[in-house]
């Protein structure tokens, strides 16, 4: 099934991706954010907080936003 996957980490990513039917939020996270922990991200499905075991539906909008994003001072 096709969902909108958004990852606001690093350079950012936002595009439609295909995932297997029955994929849960946690499963998608494991597949897409291999080096991260769910606790270090704000996870939203259709702009709402979601449980890790929530099963994704076709057309869902899933976003992962890191809780720690470093700003800087301009050189």
């Amino acid at each position: 099934m096709r969902i909108l996957y958004i990852n606001n980490d690093g350079a950012g990513f936002a595009d439609h991706v295909d995932v297997a039917d029955g994929t849960t939020v946690s499963k998608l996270f494991e597949q897409r954010v291999s080096n991260g922990r769910p606790a270090d991200y704000l996870i939203r499905v259709n702009r709402q907080p979601a449980a890790s075991d929530q099963v994704l539906q076709p057309g869902d909008r899933v976003s992962f936003t890191p809780t720690k994003i470093e700003g800087a001072s301009q050189a």
């Binding site: 690093g10 936002a14 939203r44 976003s63 809780t67 994003i69 470093e70 700003g71 001072s73 301009q74």
Partner: protein
């Protein structure tokens, strides 16, 4: 199901209109030929200044050239982003989508306000606390009418500012003059705004405010409340003088310097030369080989490596008479022969 918010619906319509304007805005705004001519003139002038070693003039021209290049770059970047949007018209969110974003925004943040007249969308964060430093809440305001490509204007304003000592224009380690230095969030912010993902946009800024990057702040948290002079304890600015030897912060009154090399130092790291009573740092001081006192280079005899006092003592010790010598002999420097030297017994 949340109740219909008419103001948000109208704001979503305005936002959709402004986002579309980026596409229907006519040809991209490129730097003019005059701009490139000016860049060439400044570059040539800088080259001449440097050849003639006119450093002050060269610096002034460098700054002008830098400013002009920066302006050119901004124009080219905006034009590039406008072209990117044109190439991806389908990515412009609909009014319904933007309305959903605003509803979600109001859920993520306690306060979410729309000003249709000014064309601004604002949220208020919770109190930002970084390493026990309470910076208070911040208002993030997006001016959608200034949208040019993905570089709309937004400000990050401290509602209960807590500024570092002597720097009231810094309200957060990464916010100066209400402008956030985006750091690693820059690209994600541009993409979120370009796509109309308002919730992501404000949430990314919020996360930057909640994160302290100790390697590159406008002002570090350690120095936020200033520091204390290590000698007298007075509260001083963080960019105060420091002792070159031990690194301690010093106020203007307590900061002294070595009389030889003139580097700044605290009283504890300077020694008083017993000869001339000048203050000398450990790098400049020499040690008398006899008494081990530290003296300045001018008060140490380079031949004997002795201080004046020890040198005098050594001289007087050299002149003390041995057995059979008189003080006069000693002073005359006559070498005294032992009694009977060169004498032979002469028979009667």
């Amino acid at each position: 199901m949340p109740t219909f918010n008419r103001q948000f619906w109208r704001a979503a319509g305005h936002l959709e209109h402004h986002l579309k304007r980026r596409v229907d805005h006519g040809p991209p705004d490129l730097p003019s030929f005059v701009c490139f001519q000016r860049l060439r003139v400044l570059t040539d002038r800088l080259h001449v200044m440097e050849q003639r070693r006119l450093s002050v003039s060269a610096k002034s021209v460098s700054m002008a050239l830098h400013s002009e290049l920066d302006r050119c770059q901004s124009q080219i970047t905006s034009a590039l982003e406008a072209m990117s949007t044109r190439c991806n018209v389908d990515a412009i969110p609909t009014q319904a989508c933007l309305y959903a974003e605003l509803i979600a925004l109001a859920t993520e943040f306690d306060r979410c306000e729309v000003d249709l007249r000014k064309g601004t969308l604002s949220v208020v964060t919770e109190c930002i606390v970084l390493e026990d430093l309470d910076l208070g809440p911040f208002q993030i305001s997006l001016d959608w009418k200034s949208a040019h490509g993905s570089t709309s204007k937004y400000v990050v304003h401290a509602l209960e500012p807590s500024c570092p000592e002597y720097r009231s224009h810094i309200t957060h380690p990464h916010v100066m003059n209400d402008r956030l230095c985006e750091g690693e969030a820059q690209s994600a912010l541009r993409q979120a705004l370009q796509s109309g993902r308002l919730t992501d946009f404000f949430q990314i800024i919020n996360r930057v405010l909640h994160t302290y990057n100790s390697s590159s702040p406008y002002a570090s948290i350690d120095d936020w409340n200033g520091t204390n002079c290590q000698d007298c304890g007075a509260n001083i600015a963080s960019d105060c003088s420091h002792c070159h030897a031990c690194g301690d912060a010093l106020c203007d009154d307590c900061c002294t310097c070595c009389s030889i090399c003139e580097t700044s130092a605290c009283v504890g790291c300077l020694q008083i030369c017993p000869g001339c009573e000048n203050q000398v740092c450990s790098h400049c001081a020499n040690v008398c080989e006899r008494c081990s006192k530290s003296v300045c280079p001018e008060c140490l005899d380079t031949t004997t490596q002795l201080c004046q006092e020890c040198d005098n003592v050594a001289e007087s010790e050299d002149c003390e008479p041995a057995n059979g010598e008189t003080a006069d002999d000693c002073e005359a420097g006559i070498e005294v022969q032992p009694a009977g030297l060169g004498e032979v017994a002469v028979p009667a």
